[in-house]
Subunit: 213 residues, 2 copies
């Protein structure tokens, strides 16, 4: 069975991606599996957009390990903040040492805003590189997909599941904060779930498009 490295130091993402892609016929490795002491330093995410950052991570870890790599870059885009934190979601409010402080800060920034000015969306751009090892010679350098999850910034944080901005993100379709959802439901609804399912569809299409003669 071919192995694919999930090219992220974020263990939450590893878990999510593994469960979303569980039915695929490949073994998904974490960085810890290939680099138990985490000696490989994560690359700086200097790309000009999500796709560039995802590719940067996949190529960096692909070169270091020789494995096909799956990477994503994601962000929360808040309408009333002109799309911030967006590409800088991870580095946003870097003076905050804990995520819950960032969440509190976002709630404060929007404290005077009614529901209809609290629109936000999560966006995920996912890529997979090293396709020749999976699909044979002639495969493209990478495949990419995008997933978007629209919702609102809630008035207060809620929920113990998920990670990052999940506690303050309200998804009206099920009437829950992202951090209140069971992992399976979150993975169905989330930007990352959608991007990964799309990537699985595209991989399948490409696999079947291989010459049959």
């Amino acid at each position: 069975m071919s192995k694919i490295l999930i090219a992220t130091a974020n263990e939450h993402k590893v878990q999510e991606i593994r469960s979303i892609l569980a039915p695929l016929p490949w073994e998904f490795l974490s960085l810890r599996d290939v680099d138990p002491r985490l000696e490989l330093k994560p690359p700086e995410e200097t790309g000009c957009d999500y796709l560039a950052n995802a590719l940067l991570k996949a190529r960096y870890y692909g070169e270091a390990t020789g494995l096909p790599c799956l990477a994503d870059d994601s962000g929360l885009e808040i309408e009333a903040l002109n799309g911030a934190p967006g590409l800088y979601s991870h580095r946003f409010l870097s003076q905050c040492t804990h995520q819950y402080q960032k969440n509190e800060h976002v709630l404060e920034l929007l404290s005077q805003r009614p529901w209809d000015e609290r629109r936000a969306l999560f966006r995920c751009r996912a890529v997979i590189t090293g396709l020749e090892a999976l699909l044979g010679p002639g495969a493209p350098e990478y495949l990419e997909a995008e997933g978007i999850c629209p919702g609102f910034i809630a008035f207060q944080a809620s929920g113990q599941e998920g990670f990052g901005y999940d506690p303050i993100f309200f998804y009206p379709g099920v009437g829950q904060h992202m951090a209140q959802m069971e992992p399976e439901l979150k993975n169905f609804i989330s930007h990352r779930g959608r991007a990964m399912r799309q990537l699985a569809c595209k991989l399948g299409d490409l696999f079947l498009a291989q010459p049959t003669t």
Copy 2:
């Protein structure tokens, strides 16, 4: 957690569909789960194409149980036999009481044909009905998807996995008969796997397209 009935009396299909759709946030039931004595007689598959047959099964079991239903209709299309058995794959050669006899018969029909005259494909049309229970009011009556898997009829049967025509279907992309593949690999490559993944993508899109105000 919402429940979805896999509307088929074929236990092989139930297993395949369950494992392909395992990451979705719903419980997939088999007919045995809802009708342990199998008192519901399967409907006659009188539709004029795969889609009509899939819908016929989903609607029939949906009406009988009140559950959202997932159904598919699939067939093997052999170029040298003008697309037969196609829509009639299940009923093809009904004088044969065992599938292996059908497989032997197909091999005989093509016995004089070289590789390049042995092209064939598996086609699957999948539908899901009863979407209001999953997506809320205003959902469409059904969603549908199609999956195709191209290959060749081999010169002899091989492999113990899968079911139906899998032993005589050779997939050159991995150099194996469908019945030689591990279930995960088959589910990635197969017509049914592709159709189900597409359906999962479409369900996700629809779920996220629900109004957010």
